[in-house]
Subunit: 406 residues, 2 copies
């Protein structure tokens, strides 16, 4: 079994890195806070005697290999340590630190793996500062070019390549240098299912499709007091229509489609000026690719009607688009079996969130283990999982790793 105090202590220690003035945890990819978190992690990897490798997009690997197994494809355990704004401490970090914990436990036990075992922390999984999300693992899997990613411009106008160089994490390895035999990721569920059903372990068999778009609506700035309602070309109001359209459509359907407008900006953003411009993001998801396409088409047609009806122009930019992913059924079955063996309930489930596993599934058999999230809350400082649940998840990871590298 893993060393519970060590794992939990590290989760808390990393969770204290990147607190802003208001004590909010915000450790955006390639920021100063991310550098501090990376430094802490790399220190732990070194302490554990692992070989540390960093690739050109800042993905960090801690590799445990021996002269006997060095020629084999490694078993890779991964996740991320970047966070959203005002985040919880578990999202991502739990998976990385549990990966390290499993390796240390195996090393100490005298276990001699048939292949190298490595733990990865991928760059910019959250996609909050730079899009797309799961960026580091997507590069690793060959789904996007290194140059494109290094040139990505952030919400703050920064350029990822420059930021990685600045914080000292523009490494030498070519992304994808490590071709895994299989990939495992342990993560908090971030949704309500496991808690509601009282099941401690999720064996994640698939992950829903993700469609991210940025919409820019242009109207005409004019005086809030003098412009009759009938003569307005109000970009802000048109944006509000899109938000209510998405909500009504998703909420009114029986499908599990989710739609979110998480960020918005008006120009000139003044109390007595009709907005000339509204820029906002749309996050649309569905486990069924066909249905996701129908929803995207419905949105596009609504935006077309809106442009005419509200006398505005609408332009749309794709920020990310990932089809739903099926994980490797044999690994999913191993997760279920491992839970059963430890006397823990498990259920197969869909991941509502995007994860690095979804990208790694392109190049290796992959699956995920979930543990419950209290109240289904994540991307929120109130994100919480009980210590015993965290430890149970790490032990299931230990068992599956032992099998896959035995």
């Amino acid at each position: 079994a893993v060393d519970a105090p060590r794992l939990l202590g590290r989760i808390r220690e990393l969770g204290a890195v990147g607190r802003d003035d208001e004590n909010r945890l915000t450790r955006l990819a390639a920021s100063d806070a991310d550098k501090q978190g990376r430094d802490l992690l790399v220190g732990w990897l070194r302490q554990a005697g692992l070989d540390v490798a960093i690739d050109r997009v800042g993905n960090i690997f801690g590799i445990w290999q021996s002269p006997e197994n060095a020629g084999q494809a490694p078993l890779l355990i991964g996740s991320h340590i970047d966070t959203v704004i005002d985040a919880g401490i578990y999202d991502g970090c739990y998976g990385v630190l549990a990966g390290l914990e499993v390796i240390e436990t195996l090393k100490a036990s005298g276990f001699s793996p048939s292949r190298p075992i490595a733990v990865a922390a991928f760059t910019n999984e959250e996609g909050v500062r730079y899009t797309p999300d799961m960026m580091g693992s997507l590069v690793h899997a060959g789904g996007i070019g290194v140059g494109t990613v290094l040139a990505a411009v952030g919400t703050d106008g920064s350029v990822l390549g420059q930021e990685l160089a600045r914080i000292g994490y523009a490494g030498d390895e070519e992304p994808g240098f490590l071709r895994p035999h299989a990939y495992l990721e342990l993560h908090i569920e971030q949704g309500p299912v496991l808690e509601r059903e009282g099941v401690p372990i999720g064996a994640v068999e698939n992950l829903q499709g993700i469609s991210w778009q940025r919409v820019t609506i242009d109207g005409v700035a004019n005086h809030a007091g003098t412009t009759p309602m009938s003569m307005r070309s109000d970009a802000g109001h048109a944006a509000a229509r899109v938000i209510t359209f998405l909500r009504d459509r998703a909420k009114g359907s029986n499908a599990p489609t989710v739609a979110t407008v998480g960020s918005i900006r008006f120009e000139p953003n003044a109390i007595n000026v009709i907005p000339s411009r509204a820029v906002f993001t749309i996050d649309l998801r569905d486990p069924d690719e066909r249905r996701l396409r129908v929803e995207e088409a419905a949105l596009a047609s609504y935006l077309g009607q809106l442009a005419a009806a509200e006398n505005v122009t609408v332009s749309v930019e794709r920020l990310a688009r990932f089809e739903p992913v099926l994980f490797d059924i044999r690994i999913v079955e191993r997760i279920e079996a491992a839970a059963k063996k430890r006397g823990l309930g498990a259920r197969r489930m869909t991941s509502g969130a995007g994860h690095d596993a979804q990208m790694m599934a392109r190049i290796a058999p992959a699956a995920m283990i979930f543990v419950p999230s209290a109240g289904g809350i994540s991307h929120n400082p109130r994100e919480h999982t009980e210590d015993a649940e965290l430890v149970a998840g790490a032990n299931i990871l230990l068992d599956v790793v032992t099998q896959l590298a035995g």
Copy 2:
């Protein structure tokens, strides 16, 4: 008649002050750009031989008085030189510079006024950086305390009193020191009426009521991918509902009520996080006080329902509230008569915008002269009035001033 090239040249010169990196005119109250504009204006006032006085809230006065009339209450002409964000060059500046132009013209003509004539540029008329709008004239009229105003916190977190001191415009005079005999303000219409009807002069007989509120909606941040639509407490979506409610209600009625949401902010404002908070402003106006109250009550009741229906909390802060104002009918008639005498059409009209005249009407007979705005566009860099129309308006001001100070 006024010196047209001098007036038009100054409007253009002042309109070049406060251009940002993108060549947008943004001269917010008490900003560095405002300081530059004020310096330019004060230079012109001094050149014209006027006594310059600055009060504690930064209102600037250029006073023409003689030993003979020094004991009389002055005739005051005023407006403002602060602007909105990405503004036109006429809003406010036209009235101040035409006031100066009229005084210079009268001085040069050998006219000997029965009372002092002064021109004022009031601080923060726009209300974009600090609320309420018409702040300087409101203080002058005794409608708000100097201390309250100097402590006002701006959209950028600045404090007005500190900013005025920083730019060197925290003057010595006690606000209200100058009690006018009457007040006149010349302004572009900023709306579509005069142009649509082909009438060059508006004799403004009233000004609609203004209600400004800031609404804060609190929901619960959660993951955009994992949180079912039915379990959301989405502050951003609730804000969008308010925007569409206001629009539908105002657009669906026969009343002239206008409703605008000009500024908004989401927290944490991240693509894959359901907004925990939305903060936005509401600008509601109606020429009829009773109807404005009905609209405010309808909004309040909608916000109450919304809190329950969307599982959010809603709090509301008043930023400004001004009842409709009736201007002095004798001055309105003089404006009409002056236009007639010059062979220009005039119509009585309502002001949709707020103006310093509305505050000065509390302490002196007041009225306004409007000239057309091309396309009814204002608070927009495309704001435009033809030179001939600007000059015609200034000449009507000259005529009315001559009568009132004759």
